[in-house]
């Protein structure tokens, strides 16, 4: 039993290869560079095979869930709803990831061997191989990752590697821009994966795939019920219209469209052909683009719970297949055709997965990896032979079958496989997909018509695939050689004459390249058999069974024959038309294109989706950027800095105007100063204040002193001044009961922390309802609606509690006895009563008045509002001032 630590080896070897080549590759010889690169991938392939054998043994031993796992170390940890949740760097190889690892390392190895030949004259040879190794390592991390974050490491790792590899020949600005476009598109997808990851983690409480799938099985209800975020007891965000599974899977699907180039985010794949062909083969055909399908299959138990998302996936897949295929019909460049065919085949896979046929989708991934890689490498060897730099135009090629037999046969085999010729790998997987589509009508209960429509679209797509593949084949390999690419667009090619000198006939590619082609060709043929279990393998469906979720729909037996029939007709029809139009060579395609010029132009311009994106999203956000920076410069900066500095400058300018050196100006200022000082002395000030604490009813007052001030007081508020003019400011007065009767004030101190005392002014006879906020939380009335009411009678305040808890507090502040909730309570002056948390006390209100006169005969009065017994100094500014320059008032001195 091999130690699972080797799983780490699968990932580490390509990583080491990348680092070695990256650091020391530049000055090492070519042999050492590609030896290191190929050896590291070979090593990881070997380990993968050994590990896969382990899985087979486990399966043979009747294990339900076959898996090998190895935890390297604890990456970091979060706390989810109080429980610490560690995120380990853990690699798991189970059935699904086992197959993927084999595909990645196997085909990767072949492509590494191939590119030793293809990239032989490339100056930065080491850099290419280090990137390729890095890519393989990240892809393996993606596939073997046991939890969403670890997978995410691989997910973005492949994104970066594709950015580096697409922009490998960075001298050409367009290639670099294509790289950036790929990375940004992937990044938008990654945003989706992030959000989906968080949603699933917040629901299931863990990031591990196994736990999430287990949660989906056990607590399906939680995922399918309304989307609710936050602690289970009191969720703070509940969206009832949509289920959590749907939202999470939609986000994840956004990630898949970014990575696997589906409708909204597929624009980067055709431009990604700017990279070297092995790159296109490895990344944009076999491995990276299929990671979207891998993610959906990996989390299939969750996806199954969201039929709406599955419908969206299926429709997107089908539509992408159609659109890409239609564009492929008219393209002339080999790599562009293959790129669009990849997008279209991915559309097939997503349609299958969308319809619940996860196994079929995954099988198509497996078979597609073989024949698409073979096609790309074939195209590469064609370009290598013809000397084109990545833009082999089929119109200039033709008749290469004579010069390149190996490439020709492998290319033919792969074409037949992709077209779906019977007994080729493509036939089996496409057949399964069509069956899945038909069977899905039961799954999509809300739209039973969906299954057949997808089947129809896939059928049309299959015919188109067959057509454009064979169109490509016949135009490249059959007929006469049409001279190869003219280098007219290479401006820097000096002189035209030597062009013809090297214009010899194309030659077959070196052994390294053709050997890879042959192996892939064989794979393209026999990859399907493993699936159907023809040879001694038992059918793969059972193998993947435990890992993938199921829609529990058994397709009727006869469906597979119907699907096979349709698949066969599609393939033959497509092959037939291509054969008729291109092998025989007829004008019908030209005539057809002429008759529908606009449609032809539209297809040629790739449905103008790039222009649509540029015009809307790119231009819009760039405009937003410009607006933001202008806003930042003029509004935020302007407002904050320029405005304030200008105000300061203005005010300082004004002040300097006063100092103008003129004596009379200074004189004037002095005069105004004199006036002000004079006014201060001339106008009398009356500020009465209470001195000390009034004991009971006797209160001593003190008025503000001034130059030759005379004072008169009126205590009883009857308007007549009780004392005569007298120079001393002090006065003492004992208020009588009668004077207190005049006004009662209920002082309600609210319970609220920081709530200020509130003075409810009640003259005898009127009623007032207490407000709820002041009574504090401990007040509960019987029916929560009626509030306690207080009313003033002659001697004090009557409280109608209406169910509130009322306690009378005795004079010394000790707790009084509680009153019955319904009984009325009478509160006299100086007594307290607590209602709920509030405190109600009653004080008498007196309003003494002061009259002040100064030497100039001007006088002023001031009203003082006083509450006894607790003295509340509330000097009301009811200033009655008569600045009477003529001093008339002073003379009579009579009370107003």
């Amino acid at each position: 039993m091999h130690d699972p630590k080797l799983l780490l080896g699968i990932v580490l070897f390509p990583l080491l290869g990348a680092i070695v080549n990256g650091l020391f590759g530049r000055n090492a010889s070519r042999q050492t560079v590609h030896f290191v690169a190929v050896a590291s991938v070979a090593m990881s392939f070997a380990i993968a095979v050994v590990m896969f054998r382990e899985l087979l043994l486990q399966h043979a031993a009747g294990e339900e869930h076959v898996s090998l796992s190895y935890t390297a170390y604890q990456w970091f940890s979060l706390t989810l709803r109080g429980r610490p949740l560690g995120i380990p760097v853990r690699f798991v190889m189970d059935a699904l990831s086992g197959v993927m690892t084999l595909v990645v390392t196997g085909i990767g190895l072949l492509i590494h061997i191939y590119s030793t030949g293809y990239m032989s004259e490339e100056p930065s040879y080491a850099r290419f191989f280090s990137y390729l190794n890095l890519f393989t390592a990240s892809m393996l991390i993606l596939v073997l990752g046991s939890s969403l974050p670890v997978m995410f490491v691989g997910w973005e790792g492949v994104g970066v590697c594709s950015y580096l590899l697409i922009g490998f020949w960075f001298e050409n600005g367009a290639y670099a821009a294509a790289g950036r476009k790929a990375f940004v598109a992937n990044r938008i997808g990654d945003f989706g994966v992030l959000m989906g990851m968080f949603l699933l983690a917040s629901a299931s409480g863990s990031f591990e795939f196994a736990d999430i799938n287990h949660f989906a099985h056990e607590h399906a209800a939680v995922l399918t019920s309304a989307l609710s975020l936050g602690p289970t007891g009191s969720p703070y965000l509940v969206i009832s219209s949509v289920s959590l599974a749907t939202v999470a899977t939609l986000f994840l699907f956004l990630g898949c469209t970014g990575k696997s180039a589906q409708i909204p985010l597929f624009v980067w794949l055709p431009d990604a052909m700017a990279g070297p062909t092995p790159v296109s083969a490895l990344i944009h055909a076999a491995t990276m683009v299929t990671s979207g399908i891998y993610l959906v299959c990996r989390l299939s138990p969750v996806f199954v719970l969201a039929p709406h998302t599955m419908a969206v996936i299926a429709v997107t897949g089908a539509v992408t297949a159609l659109v890409a295929a239609s564009v492929g019909l008219v393209q002339n460049d080999i790599k562009k055709i293959l790129a669009y065919s990849t997008v279209s085949q991915l559309g097939f896979m997503f349609a299958a997965v969308g319809c619940g046929a996860f196994a079929a989708g995954f099988m198509h991934v497996y078979t597609h990896a073989f024949f698409k890689a073979c096609l790309f490498l074939g195209a590469g060897s064609v370009m290598h032979a013809v000397g084109a730099h990545g833009d082999a135009d089929t119109r200039t090629l033709g008749g290469l079958r004579k010069f390149m037999p190996h490439t020709r046969w492998t290319f033919l085999v792969s074409c037949m496989a992709i077209a779906g010729f019977p007994f080729f790998s493509g036939f089996f997987s496409k057949d399964e997909i069509l069956v899945g589509a038909l069977a899905s009508s039961e799954y999509f209960t809300f739209a039973p018509w969906l299954g057949p429509t997808i089947f129809g679209m896939l059928f049309v797509g299959a015919t188109m695939t067959a057509f454009y593949m064979f169109r490509l084949y016949f135009r490249t390999f059959s007929g006469e050689y049409r001279g190869g690419p003219h280098h007219e667009h290479h401006g820097d090619e000096h002189g035209h004459h030597d062009d013809h000198a090297e214009h010899h006939d194309p030659h077959e590619s070196p052994v390294a390249m053709t050997s890879a082609l042959i192996v892939l060709g064989i794979g393209a043929i026999f990859a399907g058999y493993v699936w159907v279990g023809l040879a001694h393998f038992e059918p793969w469906v059972l193998w993947l069974e435990p890992v993938l979720g199921t829609t529990h729909i058994e397709p009727a037996h006869n469906l597979s024959y119907v699907a096979a029939g349709f698949g066969l007709t599609a393939c033959l029809f497509g092959w037939g038309t291509a054969y008729a139009w291109y092998f025989k060579g007829s004008e019908t395609p030209a005539r057809l294109a002429a008759s529908f010029p606009r449609v032809h132009a539209l297809l040629m311009a790739k449905w103008r989706i790039d222009e649509l994106y540029d015009a809307t999203i790119l231009a819009g956000s760039r405009m937003l950027g410009v607006v933001a920076s202008k806003f930042d410069m003029y509004v935020v900066d302007g407002l904050l800095t320029d405005l304030t500095s200008n105000c300061l400058k203005l005010s300082s300018y004004l002040f300097t105007r006063v100092q103008n050196g003129l004596v009379h100006a200074y004189g004037a200022v002095m005069a105004v100063g004199l006036l002000a000082v004079g006014a201060f002395f001339v106008v009398p000030h009356a500020r009465p204040a209470v001195v000390g604490k009034p004991d009971g009813l006797t209160v001593s007052f003190e008025a503000s002193r001034g130059l030759a001030y005379e004072y008169r007081w009126d205590f009883d508020g009857d308007g007549k001044y009780d004392t005569e003019w007298d120079f001393s400011p002090g006065a003492k007065h004992t208020f009588t009961k009668a004077e207190l009767q005049r006004g009662y004030v209920a002082v309600l101190e609210g319970a609220g922390y920081g709530a200020r005392a509130e003075h409810l002014r009640l003259s005898p006879g009127d009623k007032r309802e207490l407000c709820e906020q002041d009574l504090g939380p401990s007040w509960q009335s019987a029916d929560d609606s009626t509030l306690p009411i207080i009313a003033a009678d002659g001697t004090g305040i009557v409280v109608q509690p209406n169910g509130a808890r009322v306690r009378r507090v005795r004079k010394d502040g000790q707790d009084g006895q509680a009153q019955a909730p319904s009984a009325k309570v009478h509160v006299g002056r100086g007594e307290h009563v607590t209602i709920g948390d509030a405190r109600l006390s009653v004080t008498g209100l007196v309003r003494p008045r002061l009259l002040v006169r100064n030497a100039f005969g001007l006088s002023r009065t001031r009203l003082l509002k006083l509450m006894l017994p607790e003295v509340e100094e509330r000097v009301h500014a009811a200033v009655v001032s008569q600045l009477d320059p003529l001093g008339k008032l002073g003379k009579e001195g009579a009370g107003q």
Binding site: R81, V160, V184, I188, L194, M195, D632, G754
Partner: protein, 553 residues
Amino acid sequence: MSQHLISLLLLVPLLAAFVVLFAPRQMVGFIRVFTVFAMLAEFGLSLGLLDGSYQTAAFQFPERHLLVPAYGITYSVGIDGISLWLVLLTTFITPLATYVSWTHIETKVKEYALSLLLLEAAMLGAFVSLDVFIFYVFWELMLVPMVLIIGIWGGAQRIYAAVKFFLFTMVGSVLMLVAILYLVAQYKAQTGHYSFELAELKLLLLPVHVQLWLFAAFALAFAIKVPMFPFHTWLPDAHVQAPTGGSVILAAVLLKLGTYGFLRFAMPLFPSGSHRMGPYIAGLAVTGIIYGAYCAWVQRDVKKLVAYSSVSHLGFVMLGIYSVTSQGLSGSILQMVNHGISTGALFLLVGVIYERRHTRNLDEFGGLAKVMPAYATVFVIVTMSSIGLPTTNGFVGEFMILAGAFMSDHLGANGPICAFFAATGVILAAVYMLHAVLKMFWGPITKPENEGLPDLTRREGIALLPLVLLIFYIGLFPGKMLGDMQASVDTFASEYTAKLAAGDQHPDARDILERKLVPAAALAPLGLPSGEKSARLDAPARTLPVQLVGGAQ
């Protein structure tokens, strides 16, 4: 010695400054070498902090000396999980910044060395001080050398940038001073004695509306420093005009003081206030992320682009802080360190190209990868870290912040919404950084001046190597750092929620003092002058503490 490690840490730069002060001006070589070695010694010394026991949330290497007993101003310093990594970041980045800036600082080298040493001392002081007064002193002291660095050795409009930087921070901190004084006055009113100690002031329970105002003052001072969205306009100017060394330190450490201030002072002291302002600050943080990214995208000056990217990154940090979940907080502290490393490295790289081409305009560069491959590789690695690519340090921080914001009880309903918009920041980061990389490195060589540019020199390589290694180390093995933070982060979160709950339930105003919210026991061991202290708590409260605490008579 290890007991007084922190005071030693503050002392070494000052001693070095003292030596440089008296070194003759002509011995430029000596000054350069000595300063760098002094800073490296400081870094070595600060590594001693690592063996404090950070499992408990208590402050390690604490020191308390009463400076002004009458007003309770104590020289109280200590380090816990939160400030440990920021101190190490400071002592790690400053020698690098100094070492790199010796190539292009020719005039007044002595003064430059002096300002950097003083700057380091002030920054460390601000990070370690646990006394609000001392913190304020270091907070202001930090401004002076930075303004000198920008004002004297800066670019064309250096005076404008220096003055703007100074005034922005000064306005904020003056408001904070007023809030500090009011807080201490309230403390005196409630307990009868003055104290500026953070530990004591934290026990004070203020009414909600008072907390709101005090928090607003503190928050403004720190928001300007962070810088958060509306107050960020000083950052691009300061960065564009600052010399490379100054710009690195400004980005790597000075900005972190704003976020650290929130974590250490603003939120623990006024939890109710900060809770009520929480959604607005989180909203501002998210706007900052997206707004900063968009502004960065259209900038033509590389330094301005990186400055706006800092606004965006620190928006993430603020969002993490305001999620008040354990991963949100530790994510934001980690992100502070990451931002220090990746933006510090970016400014070093921009300095490298500025020294060769004396321009920062993006259109001037093109196809540099062909001419300077090593420089291109390092730049791409640092860009990947700044974007937040997994296996680099940026990702771990951002992932934890987003996870924290997503499942935060404090942010409640707008947590997921903030996380959603913040996550778009991840896309925008890729857009503007790769835009810059494409303009600078890929594509054909358009300008003849770019032909013969020399690649990274040994000095630049040495400065950048540790940063690149750290980028990958923290990216792959963040366990050590997160482990040390865990205890103090959890205590911060639990204290914050507990005090928030206490403040919100409007405890019955009357028995605030009866319940002795400010337990005499807690104050006794602090060794404050006994004298009138013992009598204070049992003095009968004349009127309701509501008047006492609520508002001035």
